[in-house]
């Protein structure tokens, strides 16, 4: 593998971190609150633990094929034709995930910053900039995304301004919702943490041992869990439970209520930063999808597939006119994630053991 297409483990760490902090950081405290009330932060940790298990599962599969991406693995295990179908399915999944993030991002922009700007204009903004980024070599994409991932820092600084407002009593009673609800609340965290699947595709392109790569991915997820737990904690202590019931995006409300020096609306500062971060996540999905397509058509470079992928995603995001349909996209994407990230890898792993399919070490 030539040097132009590899990335380092440090880059992998930051990239995975970047992808996992997605749209959901804005609404996670609310959605978790609905289920697990004051025990929200416990749910986040539980979800984080589940994520580690899923990552471990995927890694066990990837480890058996150190120089193949998920696309090659499905062909190796399931054979040519089923493999092709599975590749298309994975491409579809990544495309759908990207689109769901895009739709959510558009929703936030529309609600909070640009109420009157038509949808096509904002989508066009995403369209051109993501085509420009995703067309580059993986190494350059990684460089850009590493820079974007540093934006987590200002985001967290802004959120931590909420510390001034916290009231720990709001957390009590901690197990108000009961353990079953707290556990089912952890699935919300799972959904918010999707994005690590990027490593299914780039795994062979990362330098280093496969154990080291696992460490990067696992560590990134752990950091994100900490950040999510922090965010949930701040939001559920800064707002009373009754207030939280009414706020679908508590993080923005939080920032809105804090005057920041001469700035009356810190959310206007937060949202563009958040949006760039989201843009990075979307591009990650587009890259994985384009890579899949280029693999399917045996193209050397993913470049040619990019415009189609991005255009398809933007068209899907443009079509629905009802709010329900928009939400449907994310629901489908999140539901299918369970299949593509848990059931299918598990199935493949078992199959690879049964069929004794394993990549020969070169």
């Amino acid at each position: 593998m030539n040097k132009e297409t590899t990335i380092t483990r440090g880059q992998l760490f930051l990239l995975i971190m970047k992808f996992e902090i997605g749209v959901d950081i804005l609404s996670l405290p609310y959605r978790i609150h609905l289920l697990s009330k004051g025990g929200g932060w416990i749910s986040v940790f539980l979800g984080g633990f589940l994520i580690q298990l899923i990552i471990l599962l995927c890694w066990l599969l990837m480890r058996r094929f150190p120089s193949s991406s998920i696309y090659q693995i499905v062909t190796l295990i399931a054979g040519k034709w089923i493999g092709k179908i599975l590749i298309i399915a994975y491409v579809g999944y990544f495309l759908l995930m990207g689109t769901s993030v895009l739709v959510n991002a558009y929703g936030v922009i529309n609600r909070w910053m640009l109420q009157d700007t038509p949808r096509w204009a904002i989508l066009a903004l995403f369209l051109f900039s993501s085509i420009y980024l995703v067309r580059q070599k993986l190494r350059i994409i990684a460089r850009v995304l590493v820079l974007i991932s540093f934006l987590v820092l200002p985001m967290m600084v802004l959120i931590s301004y909420g510390i001034k407002e916290i009231n720990l009593l709001y957390l009590l009673p901690m197990t108000e919702a009961g353990w079953p609800n707290i556990i089912s609340g952890s699935t919300e965290t799972l959904m918010a943490m999707f994005g690590f699947e990027f490593f299914l595709v780039v795994f062979p392109m990362v330098e280093g041992s496969s154990g080291g790569k696992l460490k990067s991915v696992a560590l990134a997820s752990a950091v994100v869990v900490m950040l999510y737990a922090f965010t949930v904690f701040i939001c559920s202590t800064a707002f009373s439970p009754q207030q939280l019931d009414l706020m679908p995006e508590p993080v923005i409300y939080l920032l809105r209520s804090i005057p920041l020096g001469t700035m009356d609306r810190a959310d206007f500062l937060f949202l563009p930063i958040w949006l760039i971060s989201i843009f990075g996540a979307i591009c990650g999905y587009y890259y994985t999808a384009s890579y899949g397509i280029s693999y399917l058509f045996k193209q050397k470079h993913h470049k040619k597939a990019v415009p189609y992928v991005v255009l398809a995603s933007c068209v899907i995001a443009y079509l629905p006119h009802q709010k329900e349909n928009l939400e449907l996209i994310s629901t489908i994407a999140n539901r299918s994630a369970y299949f593509f990230l848990m059931i299918l890898p598990l199935l493949l792993l078992v199959l690879s053991y049964i069929l004794k399919r394993k990549e020969k070490m070169i």
């Binding site: 440090g10 922009i109 420009y132 460089r143 820079l147 700035m263 009356d264 206007f268 500062l269 949006l275």
Partner: protein
């Protein structure tokens, strides 16, 4: 006459051959003289030679001696024997003088060039407060001399190239053999030798011929007239390209941040230098985002402003008939026009421009109700910030950059600015020159090289050369302050 290269034994034929080859140009002079009874002639181009050299070194030598060989006579001049007339003609147009003897197919080429040498004064647009005050001039040999005087090392290599089919411009590629990456040297040499053009004007032509990304807004080679800047960059394992007739050296590969490093940084105290460098980086951001942020704030997100400030700004905007974008564009364009008008005017007329621009337009345009006071403040701040860049090319790039940013801000508010910044970042990360990343050490991120980017660490802490040019040896100093331990 048939084209031939070998000189004739007959003097007349030689002379007429030379005359014909130079199309009977009027400044070709011939001076006949008798040497040991042999008819001989001195041929030279009047406008290129130093008459004094011919008088003192050639004519007196030839007249004073008799009964001796001619060749040993030119002891005080660089001279050589040749028989190829084509060589003779090439030497003639370089300012040399031919001495041809009748009955002899050999002739002598004497170095009698006249050089008009300007003083190596400090370049006007790259002045420093402390540090050396000399600069390159239009003559290659002097420039190389300035470099060689300061890097006294056998590993400093100069490679000459002649480019330009008609102009035969002499180009020198300078590098350090044991520091610079060999692949880089090969790449530079290959790109320079593949230049095929009738004319090569340095440095602009060379820059455009060899750069990697011709469609980028950003300059990809650092052009400097300061020997110390060239030397510092050579020591970092980069290559300098100098050309006859140009006082600018091109340095490749460079990173984006090289344009923000001034030679002054290394002569001042490091805390002060770091502070100045931070100011410069800040001014880079201000120079292309401030008008955009202002436009976005007043036309989309005025809620971000505290109430009192919002009132003040709204009041000043009340009588303005244009949207913020038009207002900003108008003022920015006026500023650009004034700047361009001021650049080439003599300084006495330049003052008039200052008065017309600053007082008349600046004040009157507000009174006329075309532009608001706040916009004047924003545009002036931007203008000043854009001039903080120590490199002229980068400063121009940044000035252009703010127009798309303004449009983005007018269309999408802060979101537009955010996307503008993202696209800019992607572009900077994408750029590579001569195989080195342009945006290093930020992308690819390398903490170790940050020592000389945002702030300047003390010199003794800069133990390693920057990594972006992939030098052969990273280490550039050992611990110079070991005496400190003894205390």
């Amino acid at each position: 006459m048939a084209p031939t290269n070998h000189a004739f034994s007959e003097l007349k034929m030689n002379i007429s051959y030379v005359e014909q080859s130079l199309y009977y140009t009027d400044d070709l002079k011939q001076q006949s003289l008798l040497f040991n009874g042999v008819q001989s002639v001195l041929l030279y181009i009047d406008s290129l030679v130093d008459q004094e050299i011919i008088q003192t070194h050639v004519l007196t030598a030839l007249n004073g001696q008799a009964d001796s060989e001619i060749y040993p006579l030119f002891t005080t001049l660089e001279s050589r024997k040749d028989t190829d007339l084509q060589n003779g003609i090439d030497s003639l147009i370089q300012g040399k003088c031919l001495c041809i003897l009748d009955g002899n197919p050999e002739f002598y080429i004497l170095s009698t060039e006249k050089m008009y040498v300007r003083n190596t004064t400090e370049p006007e647009n790259e002045g420093v407060i402390r540090g050396p005050h000399n600069g390159f001039i239009e003559q290659l040999s002097v420039n190389l001399n300035l470099i060689r005087r300061q890097i006294i090392s056998p590993s400093l290599i100069v490679r000459y190239f002649n480019v330009g089919e008609k102009t035969h411009t002499k180009i020198a590629v300078v590098y350090l053999q044991d520091v610079t990456n060999p692949a880089l040297i090969e790449e530079v040499k290959e790109r320079i030798s593949s230049i095929s053009s009738d004319m090569v004007l340095a440095p602009g032509f060379i820059e455009e011929f060899v750069e990697d990304n011709p469609f980028s807004l950003f300059p990809q080679q650092l052009s400097t007239e300061r020997p110390d800047r060239v030397i510092a960059n050579l020591m970092e394992g980069r290559v300098a390209i100098l050309a006859e007739g140009s006082p600018s050296a091109l340095i490749a590969p460079v990173t984006f941040f090289a344009f923000y490093q001034s030679p002054d940084d290394y002569h001042g105290r490091w805390i002060v230098s770091s502070f100045l460098r931070l100011i410069r980086m800040m001014s880079f951001v201000i120079a292309f985002t401030l008008p955009a942020v202002y436009i976005a704030t007043i036309s989309f997100h005025s809620a971000i402003l505290p109430l009192e400030l919002a009132h003040t700004i709204k009041k000043s905007l009340q009588s303005i008939p244009f949207p913020a974008l038009v207002e900003a564009m108008l003022l920015e364009l006026i500023f650009e026009v004034l700047r361009e008008a001021g650049v080439r005017l003599p300084s006495r007329v330049g003052q008039t421009i200052g008065i017309v621009g600053g007082l008349v337009i600046g004040d009157a345009i507000v009174r006329a109700g075309l532009v608001s006071y706040t916009m004047i403040i924003v545009v002036s701040l931007t203008a000043i910030s854009s001039f903080l860049v120590p490199s002229h090319e980068m400063s121009s790039a940044v000035r252009i950059l703010r127009f798309p940013m303004m449009i983005g801000a007018a269309l999408f508010g802060y979101i537009g600015i955010a996307f503008g910044l993202v696209i800019l970042t992607i572009h900077l990360c994408k750029l590579e020159n001569f195989g080195s990343p342009y945006f290093a050490p930020v992308a690819p991120f390398r903490l170790k090289d940050m020592k000389d980017v945002w702030i300047r660490f003390p010199i003794w802490a800069l133990r390693e050369r920057p990594h972006d040019a992939r030098p052969q040896r990273l280490n550039q100093q050992k611990f110079s302050r070991s005496w400190k331990k003894r205390e």
